[in-house]
Amino acid sequence: MIPNDFTYFAPGGLPEVWDLLRQHEGEAKILAGGQSLIPLMKFRLAEPAYLIDLRNVPGMALLEERDGSLVIGAMVREAALERSPLIQQRYPGIYEASAVVADPLVRNFATIGGNVAHADPANDHPAMLLALRAQVTAQGPNGTRTMPLDDFLVDTMETALQPDEVLIDIRVPQPLPHTGSAYLKLERKVGDYAIAAVGVMVTLDGGVCSRAGIGLTNVGPTAIRATQAESFLIGKQPDEATLREAARLAAEAADPTSDLHGPAEYKRSMVRTLTARALRLAVQRAQAGGGQ
């Protein structure tokens, strides 16, 4: 399979990237890790005339905690997230999501920015990041915008990015004490998209759930936040009955279709199973003092 021919740019700074995006609006695509885009190009289902590679743009692979947030540069590779002690220890949900993206080799080049900006509902990061109340930063010639990921994900493969904007980083609020997160993916084999997957975050305050986040993968046109399930948890002790009810509500929030990854009803049931399991994990982690 051979992609179409294109003109390749690897500019050394964002202003040049914006210029190129403006000059070639509608015909240019940003190339990050390329692990989703290049297969599409090989099927000739994507035929961009211009590819703008971000690899020479400095400062886009930052991974650090700063000003109360974890800042993940858009060009941070999945493998770097997976290997980061900071992520492993403080953000288990992000670690677990990065560790199930495609397969280990793909993760060496795939980036979190690509994973989010491709806006494929089957991608693993968005649901986890929704649960964690992540913000995304977009930069264009007219300045910098920060918005909740919820607003960034508009529809299947559609984001709120303007044609000349670039996703710069993803910011996740640092976990409060007694916060736990988890991402659970049900897949038939390594490398497959999720039948369904669930990312959750729970903060406990005096044994009661003070904050909760639940995001769902591949059960709707975008990653979905299960808001009713989230609010249900607030102010409650995370006992088994509560978690089950939250899981049931999360399943109601799912909007799956039947496809090769299973019938819609099955996927909905899996959201329930996975949410309950992920919440149990997250609560355990929170009780163990997670986030400190």
């Binding site: 021919d5 692990q35 297969p39 690899r55 290997r83 060496n108 992920a278 149990r280």
Partner: protein, 187 residues
């Protein structure tokens, strides 16, 4: 419009003016003439095309050569040094880790990078590490043994020289992320 690309493959420089769409695997196979790296699936699923890009295993059918301009590439042809097989090659030979041989170069390149970070792996860690490489012949049993053979061999070779090399990156945690099924434990 062509673009000038220079790659160092197994220590040898190669350069060519190529279309930007030329896939790394085709640069390696057609420009450099190193046909040990194979194309299996075209969709970054099978790993037959795995090479090391600056030491990191990559599926070379899903990278444009221009994306890695200037990089150091290692392929199966560079494993044997001075007429001596690399321990991973020995392992695959001794443990019957290959049958048709088509996935073998990619499988070995993945293993070489993995063993650098995990000199003393468990079988489960090995299976996890090679889960981006498909083999249709062996059922993986002997591939796992082959990688363990190489790990043993490399450890015993490492034990001899005094200085030990630092791993380039912190190692991945030894336990892979739990799958939904494993997470049953907490239900």
């Amino acid at each position: 419009m062509t673009q000038h690309v220079t790659l160092t493959i197994n220590g040898q420089p190669y350069q060519a003016d190529i279309e930007p769409r030329v896939l790394l695997v085709h640069f390696i196979r057609e420009v450099a003439g190193l046909t040990g790296t194979h194309v299996g699936c075209d969709t970054t699923s099978c790993g037959a095309c795995t090479v090391l890009v600056n030491g990191t295993p990559a599926k070379s059918c899903t990278l444009f050569a221009v994306q890695v301009d200037g990089a150091e590439i290692s392929t199966v042809e560079g494993l044997e040094q001075g007429g001596k097989l690399h321990p991973i090659q020995e392992g695959f030979f001794e443990e019957h880790g290959l049958q048709c041989g088509f996935c073998t170069p990619g499988m070995m390149m993945t293993s070489v990078a993995f063993l650098k970070e995990h000199p003393n792996p468990t079988d489960d860690e090995i299976r996890h590490a090679i889960s981006g490489n498909l083999c249709r012949c062996t059922g993986y049993v002997n591939i796992v043994k082959a990688i363990q053979y190489a790990a043993d061999k490399m450890r015993s070779e490492q034990a001899t020289p005094p200085e030990s090399t630092e791993p380039a990156m912190p190692a991945t945690p030894t336990t892979p992320a739990p799958t939904a099924t494993e997470a049953e434990a907490v239900r």
